[in-house]
Each structure stands twice: as structure tokens, then as C-alpha cells.
Symmetry: C2
Subunit: 316 residues, 2 copies
């Protein structure tokens, strides 16, 4: 089995409970939830039974502990998550608007995440890895970019692979992030954009042409994440589209990360595009049905049961 | 009227809503509340109608806005509160134990608070000030200590005065804080310890002897804050003790800060010890009756109405 590594932000997430709530007056919240896009991704990878680990750093506080314990319980190697005395674990406050959009207040670059660096445990994890997954949101500082680029260079130099999810949030645009996003896009084997992120790195603004540009640049697979409209897989052999499973959307946070985890695991196991999309869609559907960013990651048995129930729906 | 200035942390506070709740799993919270010990103090000073201002810094986010708007509405000069793009406003998560104690997870020193520095607006505010109030919690970094010491030196050099509330929290002990606490204790005119904080800077561990040591060191007034047991005022003329008003304690956070604000304003106006304690006790009693750190600060009219109602209780 191939080992997957990711590097990036670990945060606690605090969620406003009412649609339309602001952060300009006190209101009901729920949290802390373990979170951070790469953490959600790797938690889902761990729960799928794929060997995996994460490079990150947290503060010596309850918010670091809740994350480390959660990832460990999901089967993630947490040896390269440094715990820094005196630093605060990152945080993300999220509120939901009536139109379905979300707004965030982040503390990442100046949280313990900002102290992310390659130590012995991180070097060893990279040595064991066959695949690295990069979230655009993880390119939040010069230090984080350095760690991530190093992981990509070493793993690719050994014949390993890179998957890249732009995961760009307007609240998180940082100095150097744009160049680092392009650097990742130019090296990735699997590109996993959501919606208009497909066009971040292309001249063309038309789907088929943009995909052709990206595949011509050396990328093997492009998977367009279209939320409730499903997903489309492109490689040099052609196009495979799959509708999403019907799911009652309770909370979209983390669904794209779980989808990516499902796809990457299936792809690393050599599954056919339709099968990989089906697993990815199942991970996404289970994720949106649970409130909380990492609460919707599912173990293999739960995913298999979900897929079996969907087969019955299809057969009916 | 004398102008009061303080410098220190501005944070949002997020409160666990259930007694005994931990931060190791998600649970119900409420927030964000405007907070920070010196911010609560100066908000109460402003609401008492005393000219006042605060030196601090926040991030360019909703959590900075909620604090600045609140202080401004209470009559606090916020011109010396810097707003930093890219920095996160400080935060404090608080949870309540069954024994009445509280635990905090803070992000202060590495938040926007950590960027606190004297700019033109801060210099101008210090120039206008007759009195400076220092919270021990505000001595959280070398930069914060520098700003606070400068304010104290300049205001005292002009014949102004210093009040000092140790307000020490185990979660907040920082490098250099101990020396800075001693530095403030050696220079203050009004010392406002809670409970055992009286003995932080004395050889004696007996109340009357410890007070005598502090008064001998140059301090004019010592006021012991004893929560529901009331307060005791010591100066060279003698001892004045006053019981607390009866109050249903909903949330103790901020009550000591409001008590201090009431006392300092009365003291600056030359009120007699018993009258100053009575105003301070009223501010404390109104503060504990409201949930939220700064929610219990009261305007003069509300305090006068409370005191009038207590006179009726006394007369009955």
C-alpha cells in the first residue's frame, strides 16, 4: 500500500449555529471541532485504511490535543505534528449566509501553524511517503511553502506523485501564495479543482480547453469537483462524468477534502476512473450529511454500507 | 475631569455554556464577546463618564471591529487602537468547572496584541492622560511591557498617578512578566489585588503586615478585592471595610475589572474611601449579574438606580 503525506494547517473550527448570524455581536456557536483542510483530507485517507501521515504544528493547548487525538484515532501518523509551548493552535470561525455561502475569520499564519518546519520526524515521514497531497490553503506563509515544496521535490524525485487541490479562500490569500500555487499546478499528477478554480492556471476559460492545457502540461488526471452536480474525470484516455449521490446537505465544510481523499486513495490503488469517482462521491456525500468540518469523514465499513445502499437505490 | 488611559490586550471571548464542559470535544459555546481585562476596565471607566482611552492593537477582522465599536459607544477614545491587516485579533476561550473555577485557552502574545507599539495616536493619548491603569495580564510580551512602562514613566513624571491590578492568570505567565509586575508594584499609587495577589510582592503573608509593607513602599491606597465578601480599603489614615452588595452571580468574568474602574474613577474625583468602595461594589455587583465579560459594565444612570434601590433595602 502506498503511503500518503500532507503538510499544512491544523486548526479548531468554531461554527455559528444560525444561518445569517454575524460575528459583530455574540451568538450561539458550537466547537471546538478538529479542522484544517489538509487535516480533514488526511483524516479521511486514514479512515480509508491507507497508510498516511501529516506534517504540521499545534500549540500545547486543548485545541492541539483535540486534533492530534482525532487524527491518531483515524490511523494517521501524527509523529511529525510538532507541539509548541507558548504558541496558540490555529483557529477558524465560520458563519453561514442565507445564500449558502460562508465567511471565515482565520488565525493561521501567526498561530502555531506559522512555526511549521521540517524536523527529524517530518524528514522521516517524507522518506516513507509515496504520494504527497497539497492544499492551496496550506501555502499560507514562506515557512509553510518551504516545507511543502521540499516534500514535493523529494517525493517526486523518488518517482512518487503529487495531488493538488487549489482550495483557495479569499480570506487566506497571502504573500507568495500565488507563485506557490502555480509551482504546485506545474508539478501535480492529479489536479482537483472546485468550480472556477479550474481556470486559475489556464489561458482558456472553457472547460474542455482548460483541461487540455493542463493535461498537455504534464498532469495525468484532472477531476472537477462540482458539489451536488457530481464530478468529471479527465485523463488522456478521455472523459468520465458521474452524478453526485443524493445527500441532505447539513454542512458543506470538508466535503471537497473528503472527496479528494477518496479519489486519491482509489487512484493510488489503480482503480478505474468511474470506480474512483464513485468512492470519492461517497466520501463527499457522507461528509455533507454531518455538521462539523471533520465529523463527516467515514471509515471504510461505513462507506461500503453507503455504497451498497446506493446500489439498491440504483437497482430499484 | 482627569483622563484615564490603559494599555493592553483586546480579545474576543468565547464562552462554554455548560458547567463542566471541556475543550476536548465540540460543545455549545457563545460569542464572540468583546473582552480583555484592560478593555473591560476602560469600558467601565468610559460608561462612568470619565474621559479615557486605550492603547492596543487588533486585527482587521470582525473580532477587532466588535471591540472597537463597543468601546467607542461607551465613550472610550479608540484612536490609539491600531488595526493590523493580516494579524488576527486576540482570543480567549473560557470554560467553567463545577467548583466555580475557570480555565482559559488564550491567543494573545502572538495575536494582533503582540504588535502593540507606541504610534503617534498612542503618544498623544499619553500626553492627555492624568492617570494610567495597568493590568498584570497586559504584561504579556516584551513589546507590551515596553509600551506600558513608557506610559507609566511619562504620566508619573508629569505628576500623574498609577493604579495596578496584578490580575495574574496561570495560563498567561510570560517571560519578563514577573519583573514587570514587580516594577509596577513598586510605582503604583493604587494597588488593587484580588485574594492572595496581595502577597505577590511582600515578605509578610499576613494581611495587615503585607498592607503596611506596601504603604511603606510609597503606595497611597491598597484595596483588597474579596469578591462576594466585599472589599477592604487601606491608606495611611486607616482601614475601611465594606460588604459586597447581594448579587446573583451569573458570570464572574470582568467583575474585578469593573470594580477597579469604579474605584479608580471615584478616587480620582477625591471621594471618601467608603463612597469609592460603594461605587466599586456597585460596578462589581452589576457585572456578575450579566453573562459575558464586558456585558456587565454599566452606565452611570444604571449604577445610580442600583445604588438607590440598595438604599431602600438598607432603610427597610
Amino acid at each position: 500500500m502506498k503511503t500518503v503525506v500532507t503538510a499544512g494547517e491544523i486548526v479548531v473550527e468554531i461554527m455559528a449555529t444560525r444561518v445569517g448570524q454575524t460575528f459583530l455581536e455574540p451568538g450561539p456557536l458550537i466547537g471546538p471541532f478538529p479542522s484544517g483542510a489538509p487535516a480533514i483530507f488526511i483524516d479521511q485517507v486514514g479512515r480509508l485504511g491507507q497508510p498516511c501521515g501529516m506534517i504540521s504544528s499545534v500549540g500545547a493547548d486543548d485545541f492541539g490535543t483535540i486534533n492530534i487525538e482525532r487524527l491518531r484515532a483515524s490511523g494517521v501518523d501524527t509523529s511529525a505534528i510538532a507541539v509548541h509551548e507558548g504558541a496558540a493552535t490555529g483557529s477558524a470561525f465560520v458563519r453561514y449566509n442565507a445564500d449558502g455561502s460562508r465567511n471565515f475569520v482565520y488565525n493561521i499564519a501567526h498561530s502555531a501553524c506559522g512555526l511549521m518546519a521540517l524536523d527529524g520526524a517530518g524528514e522521516a515521514l517524507i522518506e516513507r511517503a509515496d504520494h504527497v497531497h497539497v492544499m492551496g490553503s496550506s501555502l499560507f506563509s514562506a515557512g509553510a511553502i518551504e516545507v511543502t515544496k521540499t516534500a514535493v521535490e523529494r517525493i517526486k524525485a523518488r518517482g512518487g506523485t503529487l495531488s493538488f487541490d487549489p482550495n483557495v479562500r479569499p480570506e487566506l490569500l497571502a504573500d507568495g501564495m500565488r507563485e506557490a500555487l502555480h509551482w504546485m499546478a506545474a508539478r501535480c499528477d492529479v489536479f482537483l479543482p472546485s468550480g472556477a478554480e479550474l481556470f486559475l492556471f489556464t489561458r482558456s476559460q472553457v472547460e474542455e480547453d482548460a483541461v487540455a492545457e493542463i493535461l498537455a502540461g504534464g498532469c495525468s488526471v484532472v477531476v472537477l469537483k462540482k458539489g451536488s452536480e457530481g464530478a468529471v474525470h479527465y485523463d488522456r484516455a478521455g472523459r468520465t462524468a458521474l452524478p453526485a449521490f443524493r445527500a441532505e446537505e447539513v454542512d458543506p465544510t470538508g466535503a471537497g477534502d473528503c472527496f479528494g481523499a477518496g479519489f486519491v486513495c482509489a487512484w493510488l490503488r489503480g482503480e478505474a476512473p468511474a470506480d474512483a469517482l464513485r468512492l470519492a462521491n461517497a466520501c463527499g456525500a457522507l461528509a455533507v450529511a454531518k455538521k462539523g468540518p471533520m465529523e463527516g469523514t467515514a471509515f471504510r465499513a461505513e462507506i461500503d454500507a453507503f455504497l451498497a445502499s446506493q446500489n439498491e437505490v440504483d437497482a430499484a
